[in-house]
């Protein structure tokens, strides 16, 4: 059995797990993995996929939720797929995670300055500007992205595109 984790978060939802996968970078692999989640009825909060330093290998980062038994099954079922090379549940590791979002927010000459101030606080960049909108690029943890979106809501969100999370395990720093 996996290490016992706190199964519910503060909102009473099942705990999120960030699972990092190395898979064969070939046609059908993404389908197999996505198909597994739908066939078994597992949740996907986000899923990202992209190439790695080795062109034959792709990395997927899947954020999912479930109790320990479900998460254990998810990792076992993923391991069972022939195209999956490695499965790491980062929840048990010290890891770095980032998400990028593009946020198109309505702005007028009167609100523009306030929006830019919010952007500065979150270290977001203005990447597009029009008389009626402002598009920001923000990078950070999911909580940070949630927070800036929350702050911008009152101005009127036109469109939001989020990448979903990517994550890597932190390396050992050596003895202090």
């Amino acid at each position: 059995m996996a290490k016992k984790t706190q199964e519910l978060d503060m909102n009473g939802q099942m705990k999120q797990h960030t699972i990092s996968l190395l898979v064969e970078n070939r046609f059908g692999a993404l389908n197999r993995i996505a198909g597994l989640f739908s066939a078994k009825g597992y949740n996907i909060d986000s899923l990202t996929v992209g190439p790695t330093e080795d062109t034959s290998v792709a990395r997927m980062t899947i954020v999912t939720r479930g109790d320990d038994q479900i998460i254990e099954q998810i990792t076992k079922q993923l391991n069972k797929l022939i195209d999956v090379i490695k499965v790491i549940d980062l929840t048990f590791e010290d890891f770095v995670e980032r998400e990028l979002a593009l946020i198109k927010v309505q702005s007028t000459s009167t609100t523009r300055a306030e929006i830019i101030l919010i952007a500065e606080i979150f270290r977001a960049k203005v990447v597009d500007l029009s008389p009626k909108t402002l598009t920001l690029e923000v990078t950070g943890s999911q909580q940070k992205v949630d927070a800036i979106i929350n702050m911008l809501k009152p101005f009127g969100l036109k469109e939001v595109a989020r990448t979903g999370r990517v994550a890597l395990k932190r390396e050992f720093q050596g003895e202090a």
Partner: protein, 590 residues
Amino acid sequence: MTSTKHHEKHHQKLMTGAEIFVRSLVEEGVEVVFGYPGGATIGIYDALYDITDIKHVLTRHEQGATHAAEGYAKATGKPGVVLVTSGPGATNTVTGIADAYMDSVPIVVFTGQVATKLIGNDAFQEADIVGITRPITKHNYLVKDVRDLARIIREAFYIATTGRPGPVLVDLPRDVMAQKTVFEYPKTVSIRSYNPVVEGNIKQIKKAADVINEAKRPVLYVGGGVINANAAHELRTLAEKLQCPVTTTLQGLGAFPEDNKLSLGMLGMHGTWYSNYAVNYCDVLIAVGARFDDRVTGRTDAFATEAKKIHIDIDPSAIGKNVAVDVPIVGDVKYVLRHLIQYVKPLDTLDWLATIEQWKKEHPLRYKHDEHLRAQYVIDRLGELTKGNAIVVSDVGQQQMWTAQFFRWKHPRTNITSGGLGTMGFSLPASIGVAFGRNDLPIFSISGDGGFQMNAQELSTIACNKLPIKIFIMNNGYLGMVRQWQELFWRKRYSQTCIHSPDFVKLASAFGIPAYRITKNEEVDDAIHRALNHHEGPILFEFVVEREENVYPMIPAGQTVNEIIDNPEPVNSPESSVHNKGTFIVHKKG
């Protein structure tokens, strides 16, 4: 294509994909292929035309080909091979593939496909079979380049037969099969993401032994994994050393001889009363190559609650999936058992075995035996007259459960049945595969009147190939198992379960198969003897049996052993025919 044919082998000779395909099968030692040609596979069939090493069996439907391959694989332990065309040919294999996936049967299915440039264009006879079968295969491939073909075929056989066995599908586009390259069959397989664990962890095995050595009331719960691993001998050694009773799942029948006093027969929904009680009261449950299926456990939170559970399985995902276990051991069952035997001590289970013996006396398997012919009696006599020395291919439903209950299972790979998927129409085509794989034991195909009609076209395959299959149809005029549920749980509202059949004797005659209708108990022994003595091709018997018989015992779906419904027939009634696994058989002649 030129008309020149090179029969001599030349090292650098270029071969078409079709030729490479056929040569690869020869390299794999494939003796028989079950299939059906079509537009997209004409080239492959042309390449097969000159090959004498491989027998091709033309079934009458692609589903039949797939079940035949399953029957061949289950009876021999070797992979079954299917070759069909694109589109409908491919989609017709889906049921058989799903069946093989559920029951861990190694088959390799080759499907024709439209030319690569047409894929996705809704071309004639195009179906995305790789997409369709993704969730029901262990792995599947679309071959896009002829240079990958030999490697993919090698991998397909390797994946199908190693680890937890299962079906692998390879989709072969028509143009790829016409492309040419140098043929070189890979000697080894290396798939970096696929390395099934074979050797169980010794620490875990020792831990399991420690648990077992403290047991007072152990039970071995044995599934098809023991048969897949060819570990019946090790199982028996372990059981006898421990003096531990053994119950098997439907797929496990044959892994442990039922004339052994430690045998409890099958467990689960229609298992013996005493096997279910033994599991309920055991203090250590040793699950070997089984998967805690819902037909075995009933309500999982009430399953074997007093027991420490040890689970040995080759598939890590089978462990902890349905029921939490105390000692998981991932590994090849044969390897693990061989080591476990060394670390366990003989146990004192005399009291436990005495308790079970008492249960056997009080709640034996039984059926009413009066002037009416019953399917149970036919199976009971078949078990008695063959002494378990037969391969029995059952279908799905009541006759399947009675076969499981009343046959005297003795040898591995003699019980061929569709368990996980429960595919009606399995028996007749599966028996074809058995007949091509085995000739050491008589082969019986047992179906109900419903299941038989689902793949009755395969009578033609059986007749044409003169296969020595003894076909038994238990005709009760109902889809009996569903009717039983309607009787017990749906107020006898027999919605669409009364089924009309043709005259099976005349039907068989149309195929040139000798056939007989049996209606009386007194005719049964003679029929079985006649079947056993008939060696020239198939023979068919229709048994007209009691219409509204129920399979007992029964644990209703999702319930517990406390809700078990035992046979209402009293044990001591003069008409009761009593049958116990692992004890002396009390048997009354009809």
